[in-house]
Structures are given as C-alpha cells and as structure tokens.
Symmetry: C2
Subunit: 635 residues, 2 copies
C-alpha cells in the first residue's frame, strides 16, 4: 500500500483532507456569518441598523450618479447596489466594507462596454466575478502586491480627474460625446457657448453645499463628549447624519425644486427611469445592439483586456480597503476574493455592472458605528425599497446635482499629498508615480497601470541585476599589505546578477589587491542560488585557479552550498572562523595547511556579515584587536 513518510496510507490522507474540508473550522472560515452570528446581540443590531441606514442614504444618490459615469441608465446603478450587500453578509470577513458601484469601476465599465450597452456591462460583471472567484481559489491574491502604492496613487488621481472632467458636461448642461480627459476639455470649450445657466447655477450651488456639509462632521461641536446630555447627543447625531447623508439631502432638495417647477422645467433632469425591481435572469451571453448581432465571442473580443483589468482593480480596491479598516488584524485575502467574486457573479443575475468595495461608503459605515457585516442587509433593503417605490420620483433629479455629487466625491481622490513623502522615501518612485499618472490621464487608464507596473518591475529587476557590492580590503596587522579582500554582494545570487557579481569580484581581485591576496566572498545575503548563478560561480573559481589566487566562500547557507557544490565539488567554503583564518593565511588555497603566524583567536575578522556601514547590535561589543579595514566602493 502506498504511504507517505509518516506511515499514513494515501486513502487515510485523503480521508483526512475530506474530513478537514467538511470541518466546522472550514465553515467558519468560508462562510464567516456562521461564526459571528453566534455572538449577535441587541447592541450589534442597533449599530448595524443605524450604519446600514446611513450607508443606504449615501449609496442611492451615488448609484444613480455613477450609472451615468458608466454610461448606463440610472436604474443600473441601483441594480448594482443591493445584491453585493446581501451576498457579502454571508461571505465577507470585514464588518466595514460595503460592496457596490464605485467611481473607478464605473469609468472602467464605461471603457469596456461597447456603445454603452448594459448587456456588455452585465456580462463583464459575471465574468469578472468568475475570474475573481477563481483567483481566490488559486491564491492569486499576491498578484495585486505587484501594484505599488505610487502606481495606485497615480492611477486613482488620474481616474478622479478623468471622472470629474466627464461630469463637466452635466454640470454645464451641455450635450456632447467625448472620450478621455483631453477630448472632454476640448469639447467643453467648443460647446461652452451653449451652457445652460440654470444647470450650472444649481450644480455649483450643490457643490458648495456638499463641501460645506462634508466639513460639518469634522467640527468640534459635533464630536461626541462624555458629559453630553441626551438632547445634545441627539442634536450631534443629527448633524453627523446630515453630514454623511449630504448626497441624499442635496439630491432630494434639488429634485423637489425641479419637480415643483415641472411645467416650465429650467433644469436638465434625469428623465423617466424604468420602474421596479430587476428580474432575476441569467446574464446575457449574446446581444443585439442597433441591429448588430454580437455572439459570445464577439462580445469577448470587444471586452478584451477588460477581463484582466477589471477583476484586478476590483480586487485591488477591495483588499486595499479591507487592509485600511482591519485595525491591524491580518486579512484573509483569499476569503475576501471569494466573497467579492460571489458578489459580482450573483449581481450579474440582477443586471448589476462590476462592483467592488467603496472607500467612501466603507468609511461612512465605519464611522456610523457598524458592528457586523449584517449592517449591509439594511443598506441593500433600502436600495430595494427605492427601486420598488421611488423610481417614479427619481426622474426629477437634475443632472447637474448628480454631477455635483460625483465631482465632490472624486476630487478628494486626487492624492497630491503623496508627492512629497514619495520624494523623501525614494526619489525614483516619482518616476513610477508620474509615469502612471500621465499615461492614465493622457492615454488610457488601464495602460497607465501597465506602464506603472512596468517601471516598478524594471527598477526591481535592475536592482537584482546590479546589486550593490561592498568591498573591504582587510590589511595585515603589522604591515600595509592586504591580507585578504572581502566582497559582499547585497542581494540574492540569481541569474540576472551573477555576471555582474563575477565581473566585480574579478575586477576587485585584479585591481584592488595586486598582491594576489585571497578574495573572500561573503554570501550572507544570498537567499538562494539558481543554475545560472552556480555555473557563473564555477567559472569564477576556474578563473581564480588559473590565476593561482585564493577564493573562499563564507557565511553560506546549506541550500546555497548544495547549489554551489552540485557543479563544483572543490569549491572552497569556510564554515568556521578557524577555517577562514587558515585559508586566508595560506594565500593560495590549492595547498592545504594549518594556520601559520596568525592564530584564529587573534585574526578578529570583521564582525559584520556583509556591511561595513552598519553597527550590528545583535552582536556583543567584542574588544579584540582588529585588522584595518579599508572600504572600497565597487559601484
């Protein structure tokens, strides 16, 4: 019977796996509601209802507005806003995250849905959901770690500017077709003569009110104090609610004004919205737009790279928010991806476009005192109610007020405040930031991400191809002759760097120590070795042998030693200070022999393993006589 090392048969192992798969821990992990529901109490309910209601008030106007950014009818924004809430309650791990339409997902959807067809957006939602779910199963979450913060900052800022510029059309009451930031500005200036003054007046008023109300919750007078009376507390709570519910308030007031002027409408209004709840149907795998039939593969080729970019950004946004609100706990990225995937898959059955975690609503949720993911049930329920009963009234909402809502939401996404810190930490990251930003703004959003990741990986790979190499010449104690040369590359030994290391070691050996002093290669920074590197080191050994010069490797891990010896049995490796002392004393290492002249005890080789610019506090301050060390720059 086949068995593994611990004497277990394969069938036993399989049984174990199956048992673990069906264990209660797996249930807790994969359907987290089963765990937190056990501790649910009245206090949780109170917090959840309050927060859920507040988020509901935020999401309804945002959804209607973002649908416009996605190039879809307003009802699709609402369709996208409830299913994610319900699904996340069961599978989500974070109490704060609220799933739904966001500004960035909306503009990405706009880019990939052909001719503004909702069918494309819904299919995109379904397929993105599948891809996110599959990525979760395959543990591909680490891919988002390749998108660095400067890339995210550049992308988000450019997306915010692009989105804001796309709303100028509604704000000015104009009508034109445009694509991208530059085109929009050009069109705006060409059409500026047709500006509708009621629209722009309303729009700018809404923006001023929104920005003022946003400040409201930050006022000292609104902060809860311990000695507040019940009356003060209610007053403060109301002010807070007004602040976070500002979008709803502004849109409702604007809508009421527009409705009361119905006969002689001065504003551009939203117009009829398809009333009622969406049907629960399978997403469309083929469609007909303006008489043109699109098969599944036609739709696929239209969507193209969107199938990679949209899931990526969806995961990125969601995980970033989860980390920000985790309060220092590690997040289960896999579970978050599974949950997000399911939200999108299920959403596509109620005609949702791609959704992800919303930063603004998550913040509202958190500050409103949400206790468990159950708060989202209330939010979802509010959206369903709005769809069922309020759609007839939505038609009066002035477009300028929606544009104001979006512009006021996205302008704070322009993260100019990162420019200086990035400069302070590492200057070359500015290249990543601006490369991403400018490409996103003037070319295409998704290309910006690719350019940014490309620059980042380029820098990373350049660093691994050209590691810093510290060179020290260790002098003999009572003369000015070099005793040996220590070379310490500051990075792993893999194929891109091995030629550089070999060249530098050779150069050092020839120039820095013309007296044929042996060279000691300090391997303490080598985390591993690959075939190319091992072969390069073998060539290095051959070079040294030909020159009759000593070459010793030291501070070597067993893995690297195995890799080195696999190709070169006779490589000189010093494992103890005594070994090193005797080899470097003998000069050329071809001959064997005990340490002559200088005993191991007095050699006192440099105590750092690799750096001459670091004082190593993990070491005792040993008071031994040390040989002179002359650092030589090798770069």
């Amino acid at each position: 019977m086949p068995s593994n090392g611990r004497g277990e048969s394969i069938s036993e192992l399989a049984q174990k796996k199956v048992r673990r798969f069906f264990s209660i821990d797996t249930l807790y992990k994969r359907v987290p509601v089963t765990r937190w529901m056990q501790d649910y109490n009245l206090e949780c309910l109170e917090g959840d209802v309050m927060a859920g209601f507040t988020v509901g008030l935020t999401v309804i106007p945002q959804a209607i507005a973002y649908a416009g950014v996605a190039g879809l009818d307003p009802n699709y924004g609402l369709y996208s806003s409830f299913m994610g809430c319900f699904v996340y309650v069961f599978f989500g791990t974070s109490k704060d995250i609220t799933i739904g339409p966001t500004a960035i997902m909306s503009i990405m959807t706009h880019e990939y849905s052909y001719a503004g067809s909702a069918d494309f957006a819904i299919l995109l939602c379904f397929l993105s959901g599948l891809i996110i779910f599959a990525s979760g199963i395959c543990n591909l979450g680490f891919l988002v770690t390749f998108i660095s913060k400067p890339v995210i900052v550049g992308f988000t800022s450019a997306a915010a500017i692009t989105i804001a510029s796309s709303q100028l059309e509604g704000l000015f009451g104009l009508k034109f077709d445009s694509e991208g930031f530059i085109d929009t500005l050009v069109q705006l200036f060409e059409n500026i003569g047709d500006t509708r003054w009621p629209d722009i007046t309303l729009g700018i008023s809404c923006m001023v009110v929104l920005l003022l109300m946003r400040k409201l919750k930050d006022l000292k007078a609104v902060k809860a104090q311990q000695h507040d009376t019940t009356g003060t507390r209610i007053w403060k709570k109301s002010l807070f609610l007004m602040s976070v519910g500002r979008n709803a308030i502004v849109v409702i007031v604007a809508g009421i004004i527009a409705a009361s002027l119905n006969k002689d409408q001065p504003f551009t209004i939203t117009g009829e919205i398809q009333p009622g709840l969406p049907n629960f149907v399978v997403p469309p795998f083929h469609t007909t737009i303006n008489g043109t039939y699109f098969s599944f593969s036609d739709m696929m080729s239209e969507v193209g790279i969107g199938l990679a970019i949209i899931p990526l950004i969806s995961i990125l946004e969601s995980i970033a928010i989860a980390s920000a609100f985790s309060g220092g706990k590690t997040i289960d990225a896999t579970q978050e991806m599974l949950a997000l995937g399911l939200c999108n898959i299920m959403g596509s059955f109620v005609q949702s476009y791609p959704v992800t975690g919303s930063f603004s609503r998550t913040a509202v949720n958190s500050t409103s005192g949400v206790k468990t993911p159950a708060g989202a049930i209330i939010t979802g329920f509010l959206v369903v109610l709005a769809l069922a009963f309020l759609t007839p009234y939505f038609k009066y909402i002035p477009k300028a007020s929606l544009s104001a809502v979006i512009i006021c939401a996205v302008i704070f996404m322009v993260e100019y405040e990162y420019v200086l810190p990035i400069w302070r930490v590492r200057r070359i990251d500015q290249l990543t930031l601006w490369g991403t930003f400018l490409t996103c703004l003037f070319w295409k959003l998704e290309y910006g991400i690719l350019v940014g990741v490309g620059i980042n990986l380029g820098i990373l790979l350049y660093n691994s191809a050209r590691p810093k190499i510290n060179v020290d010449i260790v002098m003999k104690e009572e003369s000015d002759e070099p005793r040996y040369v220590k070379v310490a590359p500051r990075s792993g030994l893999f194929f891109p760097s091995v030629d550089h290391v070999r060249t530098q070691v050779t150069k050092t050996a020839i120039t820095a120590a013309n007296s044929r002093a042996p060279v000691v290669v300090d391997c303490s920074h080598f985390s591993g070795i690959d075939f190319t590197a091992s072969k390069g080191m073998k060539a290095l050994c051959t070079d040294f042998e030909r020159r009759q010069q000593g070459l010793v490797f030291t501070n070597i891990t067993p893995g690297v030693e195995r890799g080195l010896r696999a190709l070169n049995e006779n490589v000189n490796i010093a494992k103890t200070p005594e070994e090193l002392a005797s080899t470097v004393t003998n000069g050329y290492l071809g001959s064997s022999g005990g340490g002559v002249g200088i005993s191991a005890g007095r050699v006192g080789l440099t105590p750092e393993s690799g750096d001459n610019d670091v004082t190593n506090p993990l070491l005792q301050g040993t008071n031994q006589s040390r040989p002179t060390i002359v650092p030589v720059s090798a770069d």
Copy 2:
C-alpha cells in the same frame, strides 16, 4: 558661477569630459587595434595566418550551407562572411571571436525575411546593427543577463533540432515547403516515397566521414608532444588541419564527384550561383517581391518583433562566446556590442544577412593558435577570393553534402548534458529549461525565449514577493517565557514583499508570542526600501502601537533608516547591542528607560544576523552564555 561639490565650474567639468573623450585611452578602448598593433610581431603573424586560413576553410562551406537555412541563395552566405571579419579586426576586443553567419542567426533570419527575400534579410542586418550599436552606447548589455542559462540551453537545443530537421529535405533529395519541426516531419513522411537514393547515400556517407574526421583531432596520436621530430610535427599538423577543415574537404570531394558525373547527374546539386563580389550599395529600404511593392513601413511591419529578437540573440551569442574564450578576463561588453553593431551595419552594404560570433569557428580559431584579431583578415580575404574566382565551381556541390555539413554541426548543439546538473542545482530551473525547449520546438523559436524569460522572471518576482522569513523566539534565561521574537526576512524590502512581511510579522507577534513579547525585525537583508514598503512598515508600527506591543528594527543600513523615518519619525531603531537590550527588556517601547535586570553584557543575543542555520565564520567563537533560541518556521 555654478559649480559642483569639488569647486570645479561646469565649464571646467565639460572641458575635462571632452579631454577624456579625445584621450589616447579612449582610442585604445574604442578602437582596440590601435593598442595591440603596437606589439605586433612575426610570431603573431605566423599564428594569425595559420588560424585565419583554417577558419576560412571552415567558413566557406558553412556559409554556403547556412544560406540555405536562411532561405537565401548560397552567394548571400558568402556575402555575409567577410565584412564582419574586416570590421572586427579594428573594433573587436577578443582575439578568438570570428563574426559571420551562424546556424541560429540563419534560421532566425529565415523566420523574419518575407518570402525568402534577400532584401528583407539585408535590411534586417542593417537595422539589427543599428540597434546593437545603440544598445552598446546606452549600456543595455545588462538586458542579456535576463536570459538565464537554462533558457539558452533550451533555446539552442530546440534550434539545433529545428535546423537539423529542416535539412532532412536536402538529405533525402526531396522538395517540399514546410515550417517548423512538426510540419517538416509530417511532410517528410508524406514525401518519403520520392526519396532520391543517390542523395541520401551521399548525405549519410558525408555525415559518417565528417563525424569520423571530427574525432581525428582528439586522437592521442595527433596531440603535439615535446619530443616530436619536425616530420612528426608536420604530420600531426596535417591531421589536425584535416580535422578542422573537414567541411571543406567533404564538400570539395562531393563536388568533384558530382562534377565528374556532370552528364548524367545523379545528385541534386546547388546550381548556378551569381558569380563575383557583391556591390557596395546602400541597404534596400523598399522592395518589390513578385510584383508586390513594400514600402519601408510595410517591410517594418513584416519584420515586426524580429527587430528585438535578432539583435538580442546576436548580442547573446557574441557575449557568451567572448566570455567563454576570455580566459577569466572581464570582457568589455559595451565595446563588443559596438563592434558587433558595426559588423552588421557595414555588412548590410555588401548584402549580408544578420551575423554574430560563431561558436564553432571561434573554437577552431582558438585551437589553431590565433594571436590577435588580425587572423580574421586572412579569413575574410579567403572568402573574397572564393567569391571572385570559385563561384562557377560551387554549382556542382551536392545539396546532400551541405545538409550533412549542417546536421553534423548542429547535433552537438543539443545540450542534453545540462539536464542533470540543472536538476542538482535547483529543480525549478527544469521548468524554465523544458518550457523554453518545448515552446521553441513546437511553437516558435522566439516565443520559447519569451516563455523562458517569463518563467524565470516569474520565479524571481515570486521570490521577491514571498521572501523566506526566519523566525526565532529568544527565551528568557531562567524561565520559559519568551524574551523577544526575532523576525528576519531574507530579502530586500520592496513593494511586492512588504504585505507578506507585514502579515508574517503580525502573525508571529500574535501567535508565536502570546505574552506580548516585543518583536525585533532584523533588517540585515534589506538592501533598500521603496515608498510602498516604507508605508507598509508605518502601518505595521501603528498596528503594534495599537496592541501596545514593542517593535524594534535593527541591523539597519543608513539608507533604509532614512526611508523608514521619512514617513514615520518615531520608529524604534536599535543601533547598538545596548540599545536593543534595553528596549527588549522594557517590553513595550512606548516608555523610555535603562536596561533593567539583564545587563547588555549578559544578554548575548544570537550572533548571526538573519540566519539560524549558518555558522558565521567572520565571527569569533565567543563563549558567552546564550539565551535559548527556538526557531519557528514562518513559511
């Protein structure tokens, strides 16, 4: 007046640069002939003439045969074989390298020259030359270090098999159009009935003779001995010449046989070759093939990715050969690229297709005792003579003999002997090897390189995203309570890894040490820090502060410290053993205070910086009492 730190004005600096640019050292470096020509003597001349002649005998039959691999008429092979020789004499740094057509460049040229048009091949040569030259100027040579040995082995082996299979047509005397390895085999079996027996008989005989003659020079009887008489020496020299000149001998003999049977030709022969030397003309920037006009941009779009692949492989082959024959000296990759670029640029004016260093002819050159790059003048001159006077006779060369020459040259390029060593050094490199090999063989040669580089970079990036992290729990001396937890990531701190490091440190902090022991992050393997990493470490500090748990960074380089402090002024960094001892003794680091209870002298923190599996021979064997260290695997 603007000046740099050393008080030099910018104009002074510029003058200095100009002076350096026009110095004799620059001349020696960039036109190496000016240096070695000074020491030229009769002995050099003897070696160079002998070697140049031998290489000439090798290159002529190879050039005629390789032209077939490139899908061009035989004369183009010869056109490609002399200009490189003449140019390299002036600009090359290696005495051994011989530039000319090679099997791999020939098959790559075949792939990118539309409909076997020589005009495409010549343009490719010119543009590749420009790109190689420009890459040399821009110091882009490091790009080839991203092609690891397993990729090269996989590519070369697959190319060899593809080239050999392409020669079966000529060997069997068949005529069919095929592309790629599989297609060729299929066609061969479909057409095998039409095999021409004289051709295959001649072909196989030639192969047997070639392989036997190849062995000749390795025989003991041919090795030069000290006590050889002049007669013996001449005899041995002749045997050696026969061995390295075997291609010429076989082709000449086969040609004489074919010519003597001219009336009733049993063999498929090469046929008329355009006689005489090529004209010296500007490369074709537009062309007409079978009545279709191709503008420059049409040609460009046909050539496509070839403009990246051909220069890359050209550089790769040349640098690899230069390294192999450098005898341990560092090679000036930039100068080699400049020389190779000029060889191609100048070559394109005499209708050459892309050329590079030939491994086989370089080996012949070296073993024939070449002394300086001047040997190539003789080689080039022989080719020119052949073009001027011998082309009328080349038409009799049987195609089967040329196929035999190629097959016998390339079968030794299948480097099966690498499989086992690669397995021994690092098993995952097998994935690179076989991924490259199979893609090259069954899809397209250039895609194989891309796949191989992709796998390699994937492994490298995965390693930098998921560095190994060593975790040790250092126990208190007289209890079983942890004193502190030491976490040592084994790689640099850059954006892909920071999330992983943060998660692991947090996990360690929470699970491994539930007594809130402080955590010490050993940064000795951090070679640098970028913005994303610095931000992640700031978040980590915040997490720890929130948990009231201590977090200290130690073994930190000034650069990394600067990067950390840029975002997080108050990060705890211990620079000396005393600092570390006092901080970890106090537990939570928020409060200040001197070391209580355990003096720095007795703490005896672990002497290794990062590894618990390495004995550090750069350290004294200090006999202090050490706290217990319990290694915990974090992966």
